[in-house]
Amino acid sequence: MLQIMEGSHAVAEAAKLCRPEVVSAYPITPQTHIVERLAEMVADGELDAEYLCVDSELSALSVCIGSSAAGSRVYSATSSQGLMLMAEVVFNVAGMRQPIVMSIANRALGAPLSIWNDQQDSISLRDAGWFHLYGEDVQEMTDQHFIAYKAAEQHDVLLPGFVCFDGFILSHTYEPVDIPSQEEIDAFLPPYVPYNKLDAKAPISMGMYATPDYYMEFRYETDQALQRAGDAISAAGKEFGEMFGRDYSGHTESYRMDDADVAFVALGSICGTVKDAIDEMRADGIKAGLVKIRTFRPFPAAELAKALAGVPKVAVLEKNISLGSAMKGAVGPEVKDALTGTAIEVYSYVIGLGGRDIRKKDIRAIAALAEKGVGNMFYGLRTEVL
């Protein structure tokens, strides 16, 4: 049913509809409204789950490992410093092949302390073995939770996934969103059937250590599974589209890419502003387009290459900084790599860090920079305070 609600509450509704048996999280801005709402649902009997109010993010995700290993579907959510505190567990979850879904309300990392949005937190954990989904608006990020569980729990995947959305910009925005009914989600997402579980009737040892004779093979298997996760996400996105009319079979989404002279590549809520800016630019005769990345891990290299084929210039909008790297942003080099063998020029623009607002005029200015071949830089620095 289409209703208006805060992004965080829509995420909480989505989590509830997925029927997690255990919810374990630690509050952190700007994720708090999600876990507060889930706590209310449990308190009111709307959600039949064990809600563990834990001591830290380290414990939150560790609890999820235990519950998942014991055979339960679990849910957690975090942001920023919280994700960093659980970083060791994040890698562990993927290696242990537990299909945990966790919402990430994207927020900058300290120091300096910032509660505001960028995507440094999840981007920094891109190599942890989780699949990464990024939502552009409240509807997309809500729907991605259903797709994430469905893909994660496939037995040829069995990997965890982040559902990422920009903190405050989406988590705290009220807008109309269609929340499916429980019956609809039950039809889309069957109960979790574990592949391995802790069970006294059929004992196994989970999370053993591997000597050099085995370690690489386990890592290889995890990478293979993550590649298969891409197919599973696509298939789940297609099925979701058939059931709900919102198709997410693509890992990318192209906007006005026909005959584009400059293409933006971006993740998350900025894509909406970029689309409006593109409409204005097109009206003024500037042929700009956008390829939105919805699935960042596994990286949709082939799909991006196809979407960007024939575009002279690509401007990657980066809400992250890969400190010390040549291109500055972390996404740019991967886009460039996907376009190897073409003459397409790829530039990264670090933008909107720590909650710096991004306006249509900024997007237009970046298009002009890309046209001139100027990039791999911070955009919008306040040089007067440097």
């Binding site: 048996e21 255990v22 374990s24 789950a49 064990e50 563990l52 109010c53 834990v54 001591d55 830290s56 380290l58 414990s59 939150a60 560790s62 609890v63 999820c64 490992i65 235990g66 519950s67 998942s68 290993a69 014991a70 055979g71 339960s72 679990v74 060791e88 567990v89 562990n92 242990m96 802790l198 069970d199 006294a200 004992p203 196994i204 040892s205 989970m206 999370g207 053993m208 250590y209 591997a210 000597t211 085995y214």
Partner: protein
């Protein structure tokens, strides 16, 4: 007489000969029975018992990280509770994982009062990584990160009182034991897993490699620790001392002399003032837990 077919901890593991923690792994599972899920932290026992694919555990077992066993166990327990399952949840973690790096997760799990039993195998240092000091290392023990030297008598800090910390959390049952007394270990494990709420058991597991004694003496050393009062076996229920093992106490010298980690206290000549400090620790333990058998008894 124990029937080998009932053993839940398999042979073929890679512990040193005479390993105290390996003894505990066996005894612990005799106490829990097979309806159990074991959560292990990273550590010596985890490494010697589970190199892929050779697990020594015949019960469900999970290892995640060094510091998070109590949280993983909380999650296991929550899942079991939700599904009305009957398995007991037991953590088995070394003193490094318990006294030091795992404190946060343990504190959270005990505060929440999960129905779990947390067993610490206390060999009084980080043995897995080569005998570095932990919060459980006794006063004056020489370890690789608290070495005795011209200006050092070894570890300068007293052993952390972990059982009291967990009592302060409101743990239902807190006890100490030693592999030197196998029946007592089994009995306490059985009691802990059958006591609702979070229970803590700290078991002295002498380590021949880390402490420096011959592997055949593991139990003998464990007994000496108790007989001199440097280790006390006791039980507490809801913070109240219910029982302690009584001994006819002997001086600490014999226990210390038997181990290389205390050799600097005796060679080239005895450091009497340091030995006296350790004797004072034993005396304080005796007074606190009332372990001395009185002559008129």
């Amino acid at each position: 007489m124990v029937d080998k077919s009932l053993e839940l901890f398999d042979c073929g593991h890679r512990a040193c000969g005479g390993c105290g923690p390996a003894m505990l792994a066996r005894l612990m599972l005799k106490g829990t029975g097979e309806d159990v899920i074991v959560v292990a932290s990273t550590g010596c026992m985890e490494v010697f018992s589970t190199p892929y694919p050779e697990t020594a555990w015949k019960v469900p077992w999970i290892h995640s990280l060094f510091e998070n066993a109590a949280a993983v166990a909380s999650g296991v327990e929550a899942s079991l509770k939700h599904n009305n399952r009957t398995e007991k949840v037991v953590c088995i973690c070394g003193d490094g994982a318990t006294f030091d790096i795992g404190m946060l997760c343990i504190s959270g799990a005990f505060e929440r009062g999960h129905d779990i039993t947390y067993i610490c195998y206390d060999n009084e240092a980080y043995m897995n990584t080569g005998i570095q000091r932990s919060g459980a290392t006794p006063y004056d023990a020489s370890t690789t990160t608290s070495p005795a030297g011209k200006k050092s008598m070894g570890n300068s800090l007293p052993k952390k009182d972990m059982p009291q910390i967990l009592n302060a959390h409101g743990a239902s049952y807190v006890a100490t034991a030693s592999v030197a007394y196998p029946m007592d270990v089994m009995k306490k494990v059985e009691k802990a897993v059958n006591t609702p709420g979070a229970c803590y058991l700290q078991v002295h597991t002498p380590c021949s490699t880390g402490w420096g004694f011959d592997g055949s003496k593991t139990i003998e050393i464990g007994k000496q620790a108790i007989e001199c009062g440097l280790w006390v076996n006791y039980e507490m229920e809801y913070g109240e001392l219910k029982a302690s093992k009584k001994v006819r106490r002997v001086p600490v010298d014999g226990y210390l002399k038997a181990q290389k980690r205390f050799r600097h206290l005796f060679k080239p000549q005895p450091v009497t003032e340091e030995i006296a400090k350790i004797q004072a620790i034993a005396d304080a333990n005796a007074a606190k837990y009332g372990i001395d058998i009185q002559l008129n008894e």
